[in-house]
Symmetry: C2
Subunit: 158 residues, 2 copies
Amino acid sequence: MRLGEGVEWTLHCCLTLGWLETDEPVSTAKLAATFDLPPAYLNKRLQTLVRAGVLSSTPGARGGFRLARPPEKITLMEIVAATEGAEYAFRCTEIRQKGAGAERPAHEFQRQCVITTAMRKAELAWRRELASQTLADMLAAAPVAAAERTRDWFDRVG
Amino acid sequence: MRLGEGVEWTLHCCLTLGWLETDEPVSTAKLAATFDLPPAYLNKRLQTLVRAGVLSSTPGARGGFRLARPPEKITLMEIVAATEGAEYAFRCTEIRQKGAGAERPAHEFQRQCVITTAMRKAELAWRRELASQTLADMLAAAPVAAAERTRDWFDRVG
């Protein structure tokens, strides 16, 4: 099981936008340079956060992205789900209805399989944990020096 | 994020072996037929469960697999980790040390990134949940009819 690299990218971009505490939109080019990421791919990821209402975007030469809401109103779950999709990691393909099960009537399989129930329960624990952590929690947990470094760097690169 | 199809296969096979309550090893061919799965691929998955100590295997024409331990001593986490690997789903590639971070001294990044900490915390909640559920719990939660169907089918196919 692997989360895509996009999750690391979007979480770091949101943290950066939170640190900058600016109403000025930040361009994809600058966010990409901050982490040495490919701008076009990063832009696609950031657009999914816009669609999810986590970021807002301003078009144009001086355009870019900013947080659409205060950091305490943005959960990690929202960022992760927007980036990675909201599907369950465990996808039941109903193999219980194949082979030996294929000769059984469909109504015998109406109840959700105990395996799916158990796997979903674990995923809900994961989701609950991510939903309980906000971007504000992460900003508070990060070293002050990291925030300062980021602000300094953005001041310098203009 | 997606768990491989192997997880559904191995969980169902363990459930089936638990239902059969037999000391006779069950062949890959029979387990594959139960769910209409490709025997060679399934066998590879079951071998990883043997290496993890979840199943034991008996070689030879009348050989096959059985549970290596009583179902109450086998957790879903063990089955999932054996099948899917024990790595974290979120893989931090330390992008904070690239771009703007590349000009900073390494010691500034000794502390784990808050993003990694938060993502790990969620995965630990997932793992904890899977570790709290045993194969015996699943056997108890499944409909009695499902266990009977499985035993009948294995009696018939010999």
